[in-house]
Amino acid sequence: MSGKRVVTLTVNGDRVEFLCEARQTLLEVLRNNLDLTGTKEGCSNGNCGACTVIMDGRPVVSCLVLAVEAEGSELRTIEGVARGSHLDEVQSAFLEGAALQCGICTPGFIVQTEALLEENPNPTEDDIRFYLAGNLCRCTGYDKIVRAVQAAAEARQVAAN
């Protein structure tokens, strides 16, 4: 297939340009062209949430976005969650709460949680479970993930006040 396209966008605050084929997904380009392999591939059909990124403020599964669709967008990936060399509240809460076992779903959960707390800084347990229902985890049974999200929301509220 010929006819590569140039796509220009912002990734984690940096202006980025890449060449891609029309059939390439955003997930493939993030991982293969931009070496941002923190975004994981679990199913490639939008069912597992491991590849979640925030695109123009909205969480999307990057396996269902074509790379060319990202033209002009502002993207935040797991690599853009930490603040410099400091983990943010969500990452710290996952670590301290042992909310990960194998860790493959963790980037997707953390990014989805960032989107949740942006929309709803004080979510109930039901809010959390509903918002994260598109992210699959097979190791934890979700208990410690939900508690970590609660802890992160609380930490962020404390920090804000």
Binding site: R23, N45, R138, Y142
Partner: protein, 756 residues
């Protein structure tokens, strides 16, 4: 937890942050699919569209002609294996079957069976090339049901399989081939006399569907076959040494020619022990002269890796009216999938394992069907049989009017009880887990409301010991670099590091654990069988003791006294006249006292005692839709000694939720052609966080005397009780007994309708 209740420990029982945590919450951790090497090619796999067919011919010429295609392999490139059986650490494999599963030879035995692979400049070219390979098939009738596959006139999958019955004479080579690959029989006491004493006998038939481990990370492997003949494989695997051996055996090269570098691994649960990709990637690399990466699609993970069998079971239990179990009988047939190897042996040994059963008979069959070759899945075989036995126990309790917890306590297996398969139990904690549930706030709180019910069930798993090793290097700043070969799937680095820290009297943070590759770490069997915290833990403790011995020798030199006057305790060396040097002080004198101190330890002699769990669940059933909502869940488990309670809880919670998925939703759904119709996460519905509540855990600690700190493996037991506990709760809620898994809305609503 343990520090409060076990003041003798300083590190064990605390909850330090895992050493690999920062990498895993920032996306820096490297998993198998993240590997990128210079000049790397991407490969795709051609898979059978048919469940059962002969391969008449394979023509790859059009694919070879596609620009960007660099290499193609088929089974013709893999060496013939003959009738070799190879011991792989956690079980033996028939190499003829293993190689045919990697790339099909004369026949395809399930839809998705790999046939050929193409390496190309990018994945899209490889996928286009796959479509250009022409395969001519001769279709054969598929056999998808375990009982039909056992029939005398069933289509036969493998012409080299005769029934192997443990303890029977081997079948003659010229006898008729069969789908029944294995047969087991266990007997204890006199079941006729036992059932004659029973006031209540219940006998039911059960069917359970094939289910998958469902790890989120698909299988992957990247291989480089170098010009010096050395093969390097980067992959996510539960056992790098097992993967090395399988790869070497499949390629018929010495194991020293293969180096497996284990990446981080995104879940396994038993499904990432068998090798699929490494020999294929290696051959593609040899042909192309470039490193080659293979990553499996989600559909192929479902269709062509190693799920756990579907089953058909007939189980019968008898008890007296005062609640004494007197006899039990079980007939169990498991779908092995395409080749022999279901966990039917352990299933037979688990079916009555929770109880002191005076008279028992268990018969089991391993049966080939046109489904993927099954593999281990968390307590292999035990969940199936727990579903049967534990629902029968519930029925007996109802008939004799006895509390389900009291019945279990009265009949529980305990130290000194002889199992139906023969051996006598050492110290175990079955009674303690039932008592923990009986005394829990959950069990003591009445459940109210229409269509609501509560159920309990117990479960058992053996836990393995097997072989592990570790080495530990003292650093001059008082830390220790720990090298071991057990791939870390759920936080085992920190659990092993904590045991080393406890033994040396330093903190968990002062240990720096690394999972090594097969050329740097000592041999370790797979991360499976709930064995790593136990066995690699023992190896780390031994390494720490080796360090202690060396530091005692150094202190003797410093103090100019005999080593017999020095002991290592409380984090340092103690000499005569109150002399003391801490571990850190000794580490600071490393270079002045003779250089490096490296401890080494191995573990191979210890075998674990069994582990038990008891779960309690409240459900609400929608009587119209047949949908089951889990309202409350509590799991009690004997963990021996909890090293890192957070990860112990996490194993219990994760296992329970996998069990909930198995109970309520998950199944391989095949059509009459033998095609799996739900090979996506959307349709093969594993639990989401919206499906389950918090999972409360009760850690029961009955130390295993075989481990210095009393560890029992934790990972597998918690998947066993949920299907039965939920079935019992459904009965309490709506009065129907479920005998098939999953208890999905269509099945449950049909049963509710029948009752009306």
């Amino acid at each position: 937890m343990a520090t409060a209740e076990n003041p003798k420990y300083k590190v064990i029982g605390t909850r330090p942050v895992r050493h690999d945590g920062a990498d895993k919450v920032t996306g820096r951790a490297k998993y198998g699919a993240d590997i990128k090497l210079s000049g790397m090619l991407y490969a795709a796999t051609l898979r059978s569209p048919h469940a059962h067919a002969k391969i008449k011919s394979i023509d790859t010429s059009k694919a070879e002609a596609l620009p960007g295609v660099r290499a193609i392999v088929t089974s013709a490139d893999l060496p013939a294996q003959g009738d070799r059986i190879v011991e792989l650490g956690e079980g033996a494999a028939n190499m003829r079957h293993l190689t045919a599963n990697v790339l099909a030879r004369e026949k395809v035995l399930y839809k998705g069976h790999a046939i050929a692979a193409v390496a190309a400049d990018n994945i899209h070219i490889a996928e286009e090339a796959i479509k250009l390979i022409e395969v001519v098939y001769e279709l054969l009738p598929p056999v998808m049901d375990v009982r039909k596959a056992m029939a005398a006139d069933a289509p036969i999958l493998n012409d080299d399989i005769r029934t192997a019955s443990v303890g029977s004479a081997p079948a003659a080579k010229d006898s008729k081939p069969t789908n029944i690959a294995k047969h087991f029989l266990f007997e204890k006491g006199d079941i006729a006399a036992g059932f004659a004493k029973a006031d209540v006998i219940v006998e039911r038939e059960f069917d359970t569907a094939m289910v998958h481990q469902g790890y989120i990370e698909p299988h992957n492997a990247t291989a480089l076959w170098n010009t010096d003949g050395k093969i390097t494989v980067w992959m996510s695997t539960q056992g790098s040494f097992s993967a090395r051996q399988q790869t070497a055996e499949l390629l018929k090269v010495p194991i020293s020619s293969v180096k497996v570098i284990p990446t981080e691994i995104g879940g396994g649960f038993g499904g990432k022990i068998s090798v699929y990709f490494p020999p294929v990637a290696a051959l593609l690399s040899k042909k192309s002269g470039r490193p080659v990466k293979l990553v499996m699609s989600r559909a192929s993970v479902f269709e062509a890796t190693g799920p756990t069998p579907g089953s058909h079971m007939k189980v019968k239990l008898g008890a007296t009216k005062d609640g004494q179990l007197v006899a039990g009988e079980a007939w169990i047939a498991f779908e092995a999938g395409a080749y022999t190897g279901s966990p039917i042996g352990p299933a037979c040994m688990c079916v009555f394992a929770c109880y002191d059963l005076p008279n028992g008979r268990v018969e089991g069959f391993d049966v080939c069907v046109n489904k993927p070759r099954t593999n281990a899945y968390r307590a292999p075989g035990s969940t199936h049989v727990a579903f049967a036995t534990e629902t029968l126990v519930d029925e007996i309790c109802e008939k004799i009017g006895m509390d389900a917890a009291d019945f279990r306590i009265k009949n529980a297996a305990k130290e000194g009880v002889r199992r139906v398969d023969g051996p006598v139990y050492a110290r175990i904690g079955m009674v303690e887990t039932v008592e923990a549930i009986k005394n829990s706030d959950h069990y003591k709180t009445p459940l109210e409301g229409k269509y609501r019910g509560r159920g309990i069930a117990s479960g058992f798993w053996f836990n393995c010991g097997l072989k592990s090793s570790a080495s530990a290097t003292v650093n001059p700043d008082g830390t220790v670099s720990l090298l071991e070969g057990s791939t870390d799937i759920g936080g085992s680095r920190v659990g092993i590091a904590m045991q080393l820290a406890e033994t040396l009297g330093i903190t968990a943070e002062e240990v720096i654990p690394t999972v090594g590759d097969t050329d740097s770490a000592g041999y370790c069997d797979v991360t499976g069988g709930s064995r790593v915290t136990f066995a690699t833990g023992i190896a780390a403790i031994e390494a720490a003791k080796d360090i202690q011995r060396q530091l005692v020798e150094r202190a003797a030199m410093i103090w100019e006294v005999d080593v017999a006057q020095i002991s290592y305790r409380d984090g340092g060396v103690h000499g005569p006249d109150g002399k003391f040097l801490s571990f850190k002080e000794m580490a600071g004198k490393l270079h002045a006292t003779g250089g490096a101190v490296i401890g080494r330890g191995t573990s191979s002699a210890a075998t674990q005692g069994g582990a038990f769990g008891t779960h309690c669940v409240d459900v609400e059933v929608d009587p119209e839709l047949g949908k089951v909502q889990i309202l409350r869940y509590t799991a009690a488990q004997d963990c021996g000694t909890a090293i890192h309670p957070s990860y112990v809880e996490g194993q219990i919670q994760g296992g329970a939720v996998q069990g909930i998925g198995w109970a309520l939703n998950e199944e391989y759904w095949y059509d009459e052609r033998g095609e799996m119709r739900n090979a996506t996460y959307l349709d093969y519905r594993i639990p989401t966080c919206y499906d389950v509540p918090m999972i409360d855990t009760i850690i029961v600690e009955v130390p295993d005397p075989q481990h210095p700190y009393g560890v029992r493996g934790v990972g597998e037991v918690p998947i066993c009780p949920p299907p039965a506990a939920i079935a019992n709760a459904i009965y309490a809620a709506v009065g129907v007994r479920m005998h098939d898994l999953p208890m999905s809305p269509p099945r449950l609503s049909a049963e509710i309708l029948k009752k009306k």
